[in-house]
């Protein structure tokens, strides 16, 4: 559907040149909910602007349904954007904003009106149709921006952190709403966020970006459970990184114990870093062999986090669900415990 082929974007020239995207390649499927996730300044907005046509790429090509659109002006692309800053027209009412795209496409008046009514209902803004955009709240502006971009029924909808201004409750509601919209309309969504939880819950696939590059693309479960690199593991969820030795299909931790692992491509035998998620660790099991010393225990509602050190001096933390009743008390700081790792808990990283 959308084919980003070796796209590079350089801003400025000479000494001031800045590479915002370097040789990014990714293919986004039809009707996919595709999320770009990464820290501020990593190039998410830039990639969206290239897809929308607001900027030409410095090198590379962008194809939509097989057609090369690299040089097509934005008004000729069947792509609409929900802007990070909303960019609602201040001299128009809510309804006029939503009608704008349809009018520019030359749709008949009756059709414009009925589509606008549908959109207002969809984002629950019927009561505000004649308000100026300066007379509605930030969350409402965001919903109008969404309606305005959806109204012309584009093939691709680009959403640049569209939920960032909403409070938690509305945000959760809109997440569900967006997901529903996407499956109902058959529109391909390219969604930008730097909220990892949002990315994991909503997306069909996630691309993790850093400093102008896509580090890993995959379904949320893959990204979370089998991150390829330390950056990805670190950016998404809580992580323990341990030193280990890789030999064939098993690793031996520096702290002791040999475990079977999935061996990623391109990693050679020898010293490696491995990832263990804190929730994949159990304490005081019958057959546990790894010993550690508790430093600190933190209660956080649904879980308790135990911060420990291994005999090698490596820090490790375990996240333990709190049982419904039981006193659940863990041994205090300074006590020795044994650690167990759930099968498959160890992921070998590629760095």
């Amino acid at each position: 559907m959308i084919d980003i082929d070796n796209v590079t974007k350089v801003f400025g020239a000479g000494d001031a040149a800045f590479t915002a995207l370097s040789e990014v390649s990714v293919t986004i499927a039809e009707n996919e909910f595709f999320t770009l996730l990464g820290p501020s300044g990593c190039g998410k907005t830039t990639l969206l602007r290239l897809i929308a046509g607001f900027e030409p790429p410095t090198a590379g090509a962008i194809r939509l349904g097989g057609r090369d659109i690299t040089r097509l002006p934005p008004n000729q692309r069947p792509v609409n954007t929900v802007f990070q800053s909303y960019a609602l027209f201040p001299h128009m009412s809510v309804a006029q904003n939503i009608a704008f795209g349809l009018e520019m496409l030359g749709k008949p008046k009756a059709e414009v009106k009925s589509t606008v009514d549908d959109m207002l209902r969809l984002v629950r803004m019927e009561a505000m149709r004649d308000r100026r955009t300066s007379e509605i709240s930030g969350g409402q502006q965001q919903r109008v921006a969404l309606a305005r971009a959806l109204a012309p029924h584009p093939e691709v909808l680009l959403l640049d952190e569209p939920l960032s201004a909403l409070d938690l409750k509305l945000r959760k509601e809109m997440q569900i709403e967006l997901k529903r919209l996407q499956s109902e309309t058959g529109i391909t969504f390219v969604f930008v966020t730097h909220d990892q939880e949002e990315a994991l819950t909503m997306s069909d696939r996630v691309a993790v970006m850093s400093a102008g590059e896509i580090l890993q693309v995959g379904p949320p479960r893959d990204i979370y459970e089998r991150p390829a690199e330390r950056f990805v593991a670190n950016f998404i969820g809580e992580s323990n990184f341990l030193n280990a030795d890789l030999a064939g299909d098993s690793v031996t931790l520096a702290a002791g114990g040999t475990f079977p692992v999935r061996r990623p491509d391109g990693v050679r035998d020898g010293k490696v870093s491995v990832l263990v998620r804190p929730e994949h660790i159990t304490l005081g099991g019958a057959g546990d062999t790894l010993r550690s010393t508790i430093e600190n225990v933190v209660y956080s509602g649904e879980a308790t986090v135990a911060h420990m050190v291994l005999p090698t001096g490596e820090p490790i933390k375990a996240r333990l669900s709190n049982a419904p009743q039981g006193d659940g008390a863990l041994p205090g700081a300074g006590s020795q415990v044994t650690i167990g790792l759930a099968p498959g808990a160890i992921t070998v990283l590629r760095d």
């Binding site: 008004n75 954007t81 802007f83 960019a87 609602l88 704008f100 971009a149 670190n234």
Partner: protein, 288 residues
């Protein structure tokens, strides 16, 4: 966890505005010694002569110094004076044409200096547009006089065109300033959004840029109009015989007999200017 630097949301910015840190204390008129005295003195110097001028425009007598009772005599006389009528019509005609053309040019210049990519010489163009504000009017006037006098001799052509050209050129930077100021407050992403929603470059301009910059254009037009209306030095140097405008007519009168007729004309010009300037401030201060 990598900490993702928080971008400030509009909500946060609003919150910051409501709860500013320790805002610096403003100056107080009471605690600044001499503030009121200087302010008062300045006001008197600025406005007292104008007050006197206005008051004596209603004088019954011919004197500019002795009050002989209230009358509208000088207004009636000025209105009936064919030379005044002629000069007034010429002034308005000139101001209308010059400010209109000047505003169109200024609008295009403002668009070119705010709505295009960086191009070589952009700063230079910006400086050139504003330069007339820095060049003393008398220098411009002398320069124009020399060039236009030569052309007049060559061609024998002496229509209003010279005044129109001179006033237009002089007006442009005044019209340019409020238009540019307006464009700079306008978010470029609005035009991007219009392009995204299938508007061609021309429709984007007509449906989004133009309506949003309109208050700036009107303000620029009014400022240019007022500037053209009271430019006296350039007009005096460039005009051909019989092309008096109100200011040059008044200047001519002052050299001969001075009657409160000049006060009456001044008062009318003053009122017209004040109304336009008040409108100008309303337009530039209202946020669209």
């Amino acid at each position: 966890m990598v900490d993702t630097a928080p971008t400030t949301t509009p909500a946060e910015q609003r919150a910051a505005k409501r709860h500013p840190g320790r805002a610096p204390k403003g100056y107080s008129m009471r605690t600044l010694p001499g503030f009121s005295v200087i302010a008062l003195f300045t006001m008197i110097v600025l406005y007292a002569p104008i007050m006197i001028l206005v008051i004596y425009s209603f004088n019954e007598g011919t004197s500019l110094a002795i009050w002989e009772g209230f009358s509208l005599r000088w207004y009636r006389q000025a209105a009936a004076n064919e030379a005044v009528q002629d000069a007034a019509i010429r002034s308005l005609y000139l101001a209308f044409i010059a400010s209109s053309i000047g505003t169109v040019a200024a609008t295009m210049a403002a668009l070119a200096t705010t709505r295009t990519r960086r191009f070589p010489g952009k700063t230079m163009i910006y400086a050139l547009i504003n330069q007339p504000l820095m060049v003393p009017e008398i220098v411009t006037a002398v320069a124009l006089l020399i060039v236009f006098a030569t052309i007049k001799v060559w061609t024998g052509h002496t229509s209003m065109i010279y005044l129109i050209v001179a006033h237009t050129a002089f007006c442009i930077p005044f019209a340019y300033l409020p238009i540019r100021a307006r464009l700079e407050t306008m978010d470029m992403s609005l035009e991007t959004a219009a392009r995204d929603l299938y508007a061609s470059p021309w429709l984007t301009f007509r449906k989004v840029t133009l309506p949003l910059m309109w208050p700036g254009i009107v303000a620029g037009l009014m400022l240019a109009f007022v500037i053209s209306l009271d430019t006296v030095v350039i007009t005096e140097f460039v005009k051909s015989a019989g092309q008096e405008t109100l200011p040059t007519y008044m200047l001519g009168q002052l050299r001969r007999v001075v009657t409160p007729e000049v006060n009456a004309i001044s008062t009318v010009i003053l009122a017209a200017g004040a109304i336009l300037v008040a409108l100008f401030f309303r337009l530039t201060q209202r946020k669209g």
